[in-house]
């Protein structure tokens, strides 16, 4: 275990925020995290960011550092899609463990919702333009539909079971102070809603949001001396499928993801197993993404994700609360940053109505480029909260 902890978290407002630049969303979240850590901005000596999709910018992390008035010892931007947030966490841990940095700020914000439809130069090339988009496959959701179809074919997973995931997460979001989709969703409404990319329906998919989130990482020894409630990182993992979002075929013709490997890495480092997880923040571009990770992390056997969900394990009354903030599906889609923020809120015991009573161990996941990159973090409390 690398002795580091998350000492500060921050989020901007989320939703449809026309008129707020991606940079502003990033900076507001960053400032909130730095203040939450109780440090002066100038104390930050490491800055990790994710570049904008809609306005890819040269030396992006250095630009963010400039706007925060910082001259970091180390800065870079990282892009592993939905796996970015935990990759940042691991990169921050390595910077601190090697003594290169003392306080690392990780920040990402973007206005995908209000800027996406605007024709701008600099839209990032996804890589799937030449062999997928020309057939009408839309990156992100299309491949999930392909993968879900195969899972349903092999294991009998049903749309209704996916719907239960959407319903459970919406219940959480309705109680979250900073969630975008707050109205409760019934299973009937889920089933009445149209098929968009069959077999996935309207409420199976995460949509675009404007927003930003950030966190600050420090050495555990520093955190113990300077903060009230640091959240230690117990284990980390990262694994790849060998494919890229540019061509999803290898990832959607199988019903597993590299979460199997990254989960094992993180569990092993943390010395815990799935049975020890009190709350799981599973990266959720779609409900299917949640279901396949339930299997791949070992919460249930492969193929039994549907039955696991149907047995009522998710949600506030279940044995495994998942995405207590509502997730990408309902709260905000910030490439997994909000999953890290929510895990810290849970372990600090400040999640309010969404609080999982007595949560002391959290699993946080990232899935990037459909299922190409999987990152996993196990976070704990170690009884450090005062």
């Amino acid at each position: 275990m690398i002795p580091v902890a998350i000492v500060g978290i921050g989020e901007s407002r989320v939703g449809r925020l026309r008129g707020l630049s991606a940079l502003r969303l990033t900076l507001e979240a960053a400032r909130a995290a730095v203040r939450d850590a109780g440090v002066a901005g100038a104390a930050i000596d490491g800055v990790l960011t994710r570049n904008f999709d809609m306005d890819v910018t040269y030396m992006h992390s250095q630009m963010v550092a400039k706007h925060l008035g910082l001259k970091p010892r180390f800065t870079t931007d990282i892009n592993l899609g939905g796996a970015t947030a935990i990759a940042m966490l691991e990169q921050a841990a390595m910077l601190i463990a090697t003594g290169v940095c003392r306080l690392v700020l990780c920040a990402y914000g973007e206005n995908r919702r209000t800027s996406w439809a605007v024709a701008r130069h600099g839209r990032i090339k996804m890589g799937n333009e030449d062999f997928e988009e020309c057939y009408g496959l839309t990156w992100g959701m299309g491949p999930h539909a392909l993968a879900a179809q195969r899972h349903m074919h092999l294991f009998g997973t049903t749309s209704r079971q996916l719907g239960m995931i959407a319903v459970a997460q919406r219940r959480y979001a309705s109680q979250h102070p900073n969630a975008d989709l707050r109205t409760p969703l019934s299973l009937e409404e889920y089933e009445r809603a149209p098929l968009l990319i069959a077999p996935l329906r309207k409420y199976d998919l995460a949509y675009l949001f404007d927003g930003g989130a950030a966190f600050v990482v420090a050495a555990l020894s520093w955190a113990r001396d300077h903060t009230d409630c640091p959240v230690p990182i117990l284990g980390l993992g990262q694994a790849h499928s060998g494919a890229h979002i540019g061509y999803c075929a290898p990832m959607v013709t199988v019903t597993t993801t590299p979460a199997q490997q990254s989960g094992q890495q993180a569990f092993r480092a943390a010395g815990v197993g799935p049975q020890d997880i009190d709350v799981a923040l599973l990266y959720d571009d779609t409900t299917y993404g949640v279901l396949v990770q339930l299997e791949d992390y070992g919460f249930c056997a492969k193929g039994e994700g549907g039955a696991f969900v149907e047995a009522g394990h998710l949600g506030p009354e279940g044995t495994l609360p998942v995405n207590s903030h509502g997730g990408n599906l309902c709260q905000a889609h910030l490439d997994g940053m909000s999953h890290v923020v929510e895990a810290v809120r849970q372990l600090r015991g400040i999640a309010g109505p969404c609080q999982v009573p007595g949560a002391t161990v959290a699993l946080v996941s990232g899935l990037g480029g459909v299922f190409a990159a999987s990152t996993t973090a196990v976070l704990g409390t170690l009884g450090l909260c005062r």
């Binding site: 439809a117 333009e129 496959l137 149209p194």
Partner: protein, 142 residues
């Protein structure tokens, strides 16, 4: 749903680059050309400069007969891909396992009824002329 419409007007079309030029030329001639590594024999798709198995550079483009079976599919009922796709709705995207080369190819299943698509059905490749410089490979039920 407009938030997903990241393409302004027409359908997104491939832009042949140095690595894929021969593939698209093959399509114009109604041939499916798939790279096979000269060193280790592995087939690969989409076109790539090196063999992912042995890092070999030397490659031969083989003619793939284009028969295989559907491994998975999805059906679009809404124009998430952009307004240019509305007239095509509903349309089916398939991943086909091609029997000769063993590669998986993603494309459309061309059929009147989207209920035709099932995992396991045999298909064969056909070619759809898009414009004077672009022909797309698509799949038809056998």
């Amino acid at each position: 749903m407009e938030m997903w419409k990241c393409h302004t007007t027409g359908k997104q079309l491939p832009i042949p680059d140095e690595d894929a030029q021969i593939f698209w030329e093959g399509c114009r001639r109604r041939r499916l050309l798939i790279q096979q590594c000269d060193h280790c024999g592995a087939f690969r798709f989409p076109p790539s400069p090196l063999c992912q198995v042995c890092l070999g550079s030397l490659t031969t483009w083989r003619e793939e007969p284009g028969q295989g079976e559907v491994v998975t599919f999805c059906v679009y009922y809404t124009e998430i891909a952009g307004p240019a796709w509305r007239p095509s709705l509903p349309y089916t995207v398939v991943v086909v396992h091609l029997w000769y080369s063993g590669i998986h190819m993603l494309s459309n299943l061309v059929c009147d009824d989207v209920q035709t698509a099932h995992i396991g059905i045999p298909v064969r490749v056909g070619f759809e002329v898009v414009n004077e410089w672009l022909t797309l490979p698509k799949f038809f039920p056998l």
